[in-house]
Symmetry: C2
Subunit: 178 residues, 2 copies
DNA sequence: AACTTTGTACAGAAAAAACTGTACGTAGCG
DNA sequence: CGCTACGTACAGTTTTTTCTGTACAAAGTT
């Protein structure tokens, strides 16, 4: 095995690990591989180059890269005189991590808070309604308690996300230094 | 709509949100629904009761609940005189959250650290090999830098996970109080 | 203005995953 | 020890997701 092949193999192993890892959080392995490929590039790639690199269709590259951009894991780059769109991987993994979970968690918190507050309100109404059976009310009461503490948790999660977003988290858990 | 229906509707909305939320992190919607159903139960359920509750096969309940147990979101409960396995949802979401991401992140860190350290070693070897082209060595050098800083990041992530596992995180981001 | 090039929408094909039913091993009970 | 009840492995089916190729709109070039 010559040097170039060894280099390729070393990269391939890491790309594999990266894509498996991303897969744990609901990102397709293909998208993970694309990110990995971009990560090892010295300069930004065009869609056609990605297509070449991964042996997939251009359409797939287009949708995959858009996915990565939405996750802020990859950014579009402008280069003078180049007509094609260029993309490169965000090199700072601390940033990538923070963005990724900020995006995901905020989405989740929003979905759940909205639903829970609405349901909480309805359950309160139920308690105030004289026509409702007291067995049902007892259940509603339990649910209200559960939802209330769940909402507390989501408030906490929102604060955690804030600390990711602002970088405050690094005051508590300092970045590793070489 | 009577009280019972209203109660059901309020729960259903929340279960829906929960399952969508879990889905963001690579958990099936069905598994999410199961967790949601368990969350609102007052007492633990058997596989047959879950099957009834969700209108799915017992086999699915078995695999789904095992999934939730692996994630520590649901626990098996023992009850005197009852032969069937009983399961109930972990009620403390702070705990659930910490466990969930501890499990996921540790897995990810391990996968990546192993691969990266191995590749890092190989790349170092490459640099020390006289027969290797200097262009290839230049690339290897860049890769080594990338991997080194990626590994630093994973060390940090490990410390973050530690803080989740020990509960230290709550010193920095205190739990919300009612 | 005509001609290229580039990126993406969309429909259909291919691949992956979730789900079910049967069959079976194991454990409790009489 | 035989019988029943329970949970799960496994194979096959259904559903969902991913991927591709074609077609087209938008922007750039001559």
């Amino acid at each position: 095995m010559n040097g170039e092949q060894q280099l390729e193999k070393a990269r391939e192993r890491v790309i594999d690990a990266i894509s498996k890892n991303m897969n744990l959080y609901g990102v397709t392995e293909s998208i993970g591989r694309l990110y990995g490929a971009l990560y090892f590039q010295e300069s930004p790639l065009t869609l056609d180059e990605m297509k070449e690199e991964l042996g997939m269709s251009k359409t797939s590259m287009s949708t995959s890269v858009r996915n990565l951009v939405d996750l802020k894991m990859v950014g579009k780059v402008w280069k003078k005189g180049v007509r094609k769109d260029l993309y490169q991987a965000e090199p700072d993994w601390y940033q990538t991590f923070a963005d990724f979970f900020t995006i995901k968690w905020r989405t989740g918190v929003t979905i759940n808070m909205t639903a829970m507050e609405k349901s909480l309100y309805e359950l309160q109404m139920l308690l105030d309604d004289e026509n409702v059976n007291h067995m049902v009310k007892a259940e509603a009461k339990l649910d209200i308690e559960k939802l209330t503490s769940a909402i507390d948790y989501y408030k906490w999660l929102n604060r955690l996300v804030d600390s990711f977003e602002t970088g405050e988290i690094f005051q508590y858990i300092p970045k590793s230094t070489k």
